[in-house]
Symmetry: C2
Subunit: 222 residues, 2 copies
């Protein structure tokens, strides 16, 4: 079982809840970090001191405030931590239920568990910690486990997301092309961009561009 745990979470109440959960599992050696940057620094320090953490529990969304930050969200944090300390176990603990985003956490950062905050998340979190602490299995909250299975045959690539973002900023197609040309993005003709948007509209069953942006915003893609 885990000996040393770090928690990255900005909401004070939730920190209390996680703390109680850990104590109930007889884990007493844990630290909090209210900013991703702090969590990362602590993890690095612990490695240098030869007393590394063996579990990171992190939220995904962190509030912005006056403080200037480097790492803005849990998604970035887990990627960097996985790179820094490949053997650490990571549990994402979040209200986020958009499967696209969750899936990318497993794909990109190879997290070990995802627990959905909710009406009985404490029990879920305990299960996750137990499972991950005693085996190499992954834990996923039951509410989203099924939704995570369904894989869309069509893969939305990086360029798609860039286009969607530009559209949401109100950039007209002509300008999008120019931006891509300046950035040196490979396919950058008007035709291709039009075709990609058309494909996206088809895929998301959107009536027009406005609808498309609305849908993808709701899904958390952009």
């Amino acid at each position: 079982m885990f000996k040393k745990v770090i928690i990255a979470e900005d909401l004070e109440d939730i920190n209390l809840g996680i703390e109680q959960t850990l104590k109930s599992l007889d884990i007493v050696n844990f630290q909090h970090a209210k900013y991703c940057d702090d969590a990362f620094l602590k993890i690095r320090k612990a490695i240098q001191d030869n007393e590394p953490y063996d579990l990171l529990i992190t939220d995904l969304s962190f509030k912005k405030d006056h403080r200037e930050v480097n790492i803005t969200c849990g998604d970035e944090l887990v990627e960097k931590v996985r790179e820094l300390q490949p053997n650490i176990k990571i549990i994402a603990y979040s209200v986020e239920d958009k499967n696209i985003r969750i899936k990318s956490l497993f794909d990109k950062a190879d997290i070990n568990g995802f627990v959905l905050k909710g009406r009985n998340s404490i029990e879920d979190l305990k299960k996750a910690i137990n499972l991950i602490g005693t085996s190499d299995q992954k834990y996923i909250s039951p509410e989203i486990a099924s939704a995570l299975q369904e894989k869309s045959n069509y893969e939305i690539d990086d360029l798609d997301i860039q286009i969607l973002k530009q559209l949401s900023y109100g950039t007209p197609q002509d300008e999008i092309i120019q931006i891509f040309k300046e950035m040196g993005v490979k396919p950058n003709s008007k035709s291709t961009v039009e075709k990609k948007i058309s494909k996206l509209k088809d895929f998301f069953k959107a009536n027009n561009t406005t609808h498309l942006v609305s849908i993808t915003k709701d899904m958390g893609i952009i």
Copy 2:
């Protein structure tokens, strides 16, 4: 100070946090409700039993799950509760920081306080409870107090919101007009709708319709 408190909050951890906060203020008579419906029923029951609550602390967003619910969010709950028991004190406790939505809570349901969940929200919540429990003043978390002041001279009316919603559904302008005519909405010519959209784009500094919908979605207007 408060004698009997009800908490409407679905996240288990936050319930723990609020519970500790209340205990630290020597308030021990409190109940939890994880669904708005339950909170409303408890409040009504308490009135019938002649032991009404004198404070409601409620979240704004509640997760959907298998259970069929009547009241889906805190906004609806506070309105109904205010109607049912006008003298109860209400504190909204939420991560929501869109001032439009918060303002409408004060306007429509005349809530007594708004506390923003965050890195030191427990202290804020204590202050709010103390202030509201001993006076008739309103409490607003400092982070948003200033933003709440600024009132936009241009008022976005109901028709504007309907148009924005239709746009976000991908309804073309021609169809929007038809829908309005069928619904018997008063100004329903193509020109008027076009002009209203144009005004909205102007007001929100949007480059085009897609941008407009993106902005208003971010602001929580639609």
